[in-house]
C-alpha cells in the first residue's frame, strides 16, 4: 500500500512538471506586464527600468525564465509578489487556512445533508419524500453560487440584518471571536454546501438505487436482517464506493467554485488572492496559486484511488 502511494507520487512528478510548463507558457504569452506601471511612470528613467527588467530576468527567453522558476521552486523559493512585496509562500499560507475552513465546512455540510437524504429517498423511490428531494436537488444545482450568494446577502444581511456580509479575518482568540468566525462563515458555507449537497444527493440516491436491486441485497434480506441493517451494511457500504470516489475527484472543482464564492463574500482566501493577483498582473502569485490548484488535483486523484481500493476489497494495489 505505502509502496503503491510512493509510486503514484513518483508518477505525479512528471505530470506536475508538464502542468507547470503549460501554466508558465500560458502566463508568459498572456498580455500584461508586471512592470507596465513602471513603463508609464515618468519618474522612473528608462535605464532604471531596463536594469530592473534585467535583474528580474524578464527579457530572457521563455525557457530560461522557466528554468529559473523551476529551480527556485525546487529550492523552496516561490518568488515574491510584485504587488505586495511579500514572499508568495507566506501569502498563500496566510490565505489557505480560511479557504480550507470554508470549503471544508461546506463539504461537511453537503455530506451531512446528501447521505441521509439520498439514502432515505432511495429506499422509497418515487415517494413524496423522494420527489421533494429530487426537486430541491434539481433547483439546488441549477442555481449558480453567485446568484444564491447574492440572494442570501440580500435576505440575511440587508433585509434581516442577521449576518455580516463582509468576511473579516482579524486574528484573535476567545469565545466572542470564535463565535464571530462561525457567524460570518454561515452564509458562504451554506451557499457552497447546499450547492454541493444538491448534486451529491442525486448521486447518492442513484448509487443506492443501483445497488438496492442487486442479488446480494436479496440474499441479505433472505437472512432476515431487517431493513435498516440491510440498507446500512449491505447497500450503503457498496453504494458509497463510487460516491466517495466522486467526492474526492470533485474536490479540485470545489476549490475552483470557492473562488466565486470568496469573491461574493469578500473572503480573504486563496481564491480571492488568485483573482486580485490576476487583475494586478502579479505573475509569480498567479503561477504559484494555479500550481497549488494543480497539485490539489493530482493529490485528490491519488486520494480517490486509495479510498477506492480501501473500500473495495476486489481492487488490489499493485
Amino acid at each position: 500500500m505505502s509502496q503503491y502511494i510512493l509510486r503514484r507520487l513518483m508518477i505525479a512528478i512528471p505530470s506536475l512538471l508538464g502542468i507547470s510548463v503549460v501554466l508558465f507558457v500560458v502566463l508568459a504569452l498572456a498580455p500584461g506586464d508586471p512592470f507596465s506601471e513602471l513603463a508609464t511612470n515618468p519618474n522612473v528613467p528608462p535605464e532604471v527600468q531596463a536594469a530592473l527588467r534585467a535583474k528580474f530576468g524578464l527579457d530572457d527567453p521563455i525557457y530560461l525564465r522557466y528554468l529559473h522558476w523551476i529551480t527556485a521552486m525546487a529550492h523552496g523559493d516561490w518568488g515574491f509578489s510584485f504587488v505586495s512585496r511579500v514572499d508568495v509562500d507566506t501569502l498563500i499560507l496566510q490565505r489557505l487556512p480560511t479557504t480550507l475552513y470554508v470549503v471544508g465546512s461546506s463539504q461537511l455540510l453537503a455530506l451531512l445533508i446528501a447521505i441521509p437524504v439520498g439514502v432515505y429517498a432511495a429506499t422509497r423511490p418515487y415517494s413524496l419524500f423522494d420527489q421533494l428531494a429530487n426537486t430541491f436537488a434539481f433547483i439546488g444545482f441549477s442555481l449558480p453560487t453567485f446568484f444564491t450568494g447574492i440572494l442570501f446577502i440580500l435576505v440575511f444581511s440587508v433585509k434581516l440584518d442577521w449576518l455580516p456580509f463582509v468576511y473579516t479575518s482579524v486574528p484573535g482568540s476567545g469565545i466572542p471571536w470564535l463565535l464571530e468566525m462561525i457567524r460570518q462563515a454561515i452564509m458562504p458555507v451554506m451557499v457552497l454546501g447546499l450547492f454541493q449537497a444538491a448534486s451529491m444527493t442525486r448521486f447518492v440516491r442513484s448509487a443506492m438505487l443501483d445497488v438496492i436491486r442487486l442479488d446480494y441485497v436479496t440474499t441479505a434480506r433472505a437472512k432476515g436482517l431487517g431493513q435498516a441493517k440491510v440498507i446500512v451494511k449491505h447497500v450503503m457500504r457498496n453504494a458509497m464506493i463510487p460516491v466517495v470516489t466522486l467526492i474526492a475527484l470533485q474536490m479540485p472543482a470545489v476549490f475552483g467554485g470557492a473562488i466565486v464564492t470568496e469573491q461574493i463574500f469578500r473572503i480573504p482566501g486563496i481564491g480571492s488572492l488568485l483573482i486580485s493577483s490576476i487583475l494586478a498582473n502579479d505573475t509569480p502569485v498567479v503561477m504559484a496559486v494555479t500550481f497549488v490548484f494543480a497539485c490539489l488535483v493530482v493529490l485528490f486523484n491519488l486520494i480517490a484511488d486509495v479510498l477506492y481500493g480501501w473500500l473495495d476489497p476486489r481492487i488490489s494495489f499493485r
Partner: protein, 325 residues
C-alpha cells in the same frame, strides 16, 4: 400436515403495460424432509412463487393478491416483512441462482454467514465464527478456518455456491428453497453441488424445494415434481410417475426435449423442441395458457380453463385431454 402448503397463490406485478399475472393460482405443498422439484421454462413463475413465500419480490411493483402460504400451520401472507424476518433463514433458507452476484463483494464470506447466525441465535461473535467454520467444513471448502476471512471474489463459482449453501443452512432451517442452484455452474460442478445438497438434506433432515428448468436435475434429485407453465401448475406427480407416464402435453414436450444418450445411432432422432414461446402474462386470453403451443389443442382449450385435478393417486394435472378418458 404438510410443512409448507401454498394454496391458490396469485402474485401479480403492475407494469406500464398492465397487470402481469406472473403467478396465477398456484397450489404446491411440501412435506417434511421431502425434495420437491418445481420445473418449467424461464418466465413460468417458478422463481416468483418461491420468492413470494418469504416476500422477497420487490413490492411494489409485485403484490400477492390472493392465496395463502401455510408454513407449519401459520399463514405467511398477512405477515409484515419485519415479522417474516424471524422466519427468513431461521425456518426457511434460500439458495439463489447466481453465486457470482448473490454474495456481497465487500464483506468476507465468514461475516456473511455469521451475521445470519447472530441474527437468529443467541451466540457470541466467537461462537458464530466457530459455527461458520464448521459449516464451511460441512460444505467441503478446503482450509475452512483460513478461507472464512476471504472475500467472495477469491472463490470460484462452485465454491461460492457452497458458501451460499452453508449460509442457507447455517441456522438449520426446516425448509430450503434452492432457486436454480446449478444453472450458472459448469456441468461437473453441477453434479457436485447437487450431491452436496442431497448430503446436507440427509444430514439435517430438512425439506428441499428445488427450482430448476433442467429435467436431468429433476430425475436425479426429486421425490415429487411440480410442472409449471405460464404462472400455473399444469401437472404434479411423484418423479417416477411423471417420467414414466407424463399426461400433460407440456410435460410430455419437456421430457421429449431431454437429449438421450442411451439410444444407439440409428434410433437417434432430432431433439424435439416445443414450438413457440411462453406467452406474455398481461391480460392472457381465456382458456388453457398452453393451447397456442399445444399439438392436441381442441376448441374447448381456448374457451375454458382446465382445472387441476387428481387423475391417479398423487398425480394431478390440468388439461382437457384427460376429460374424455
Amino acid at each position: 400436515m404438510a410443512l409448507l402448503d401454498i394454496k391458490g397463490l396469485k402474485t401479480h406485478f403492475s407494469t406500464d403495460a398492465g397487470v402481469l399475472q406472473a403467478v396465477d393460482g398456484v397450489d404446491i405443498s411440501i412435506n417434511r424432509g421431502e425434495t420437491l422439484c418445481v420445473v418449467g421454462e424461464s418466465g413460468c413463475g417458478k422463481t416468483v412463487t418461491a420468492m413470494s413465500i418469504l416476500k422477497l419480490i420487490a413490492m411494489p411493483p409485485g403484490k400477492i393478491v390472493e392465496g395463502e402460504i401455510m408454513f407449519e400451520g401459520r399463514d405467511l401472507v398477512p405477515l409484515s416483512s419485519r415479522e417474516l424476518d424471524d422466519i427468513r433463514a431461521k425456518e426457511i433458507g434460500f439458495i439463489f441462482q447466481e453465486p457470482m452476484t448473490s454474495l456481497n463483494p465487500v464483506l468476507t464470506i465468514g461475516e456473511q454467514i455469521a451475521e445470519s447466525l447472530r441474527r437468529h441465535e443467541a451466540v457470541t461473535k466467537k461462537q458464530a465464527l466457530e459455527r461458520t467454520i464448521e459449516m464451511l467444513k460441512l460444505v467441503q471448502i478446503p482450509n475452512a478456518a483460513g478461507r472464512v476471512h476471504h472475500y467472495p471474489h477469491q472463490f470460484s463459482g462452485g465454491m461460492r455456491q457452497r458458501v451460499m449453501i452453508a449460509m442457507a443452512l447455517a441456522c438449520r432451517p426446516k425448509l430450503v428453497i434452492a432457486d436454480e442452484p446449478t444453472t450458472a455452474l459448469d456441468v461437473t460442478i453441477q453434479a457436485q453441488i447437487l450431491d452436496l445438497l442431497q448430503d446436507m438434506k440427509e444430514r439435517f433432515g430438512m425439506a428441499v424445494m428445488l427450482i430448476t428448468h433442467a429435467m436431468g436435475v429433476v430425475a436425479e434429485t426429486a421425490q415429487r415434481v411440480v410442472v409449471m407453465y405460464a404462472g400455473k401448475v399444469v401437472e404434479e406427480a411423484p418423479v417416477d410417475e411423471l417420467f414414466g407416464n407424463p399426461r400433460h402435453p407440456y410435460t410430455q414436450g419437456l421430457i421429449r426435449s431431454i437429449p438421450r444418450i442411451d439410444l444407439d445411432a440409428e434410433h437417434k432422432t432430432r431433439l424435439e423442441a416445443i414450438g413457440g414461446s411462453v406467452p406474455i402474462l398481461i391480460n392472457p386470453p381465456p382458456g388453457c395458457r398452453f393451447a397456442p403451443r399445444c399439438k392436441h389443442a381442441m376448441s374447448i382449450c381456448t374457451e375454458q380453463e382446465p382445472r387441476l385435478r387428481e387423475i391417479a393417486p398423487g398425480h394431478r394435472m390440468a388439461c382437457h385431454l384427460g376429460d374424455a378418458s
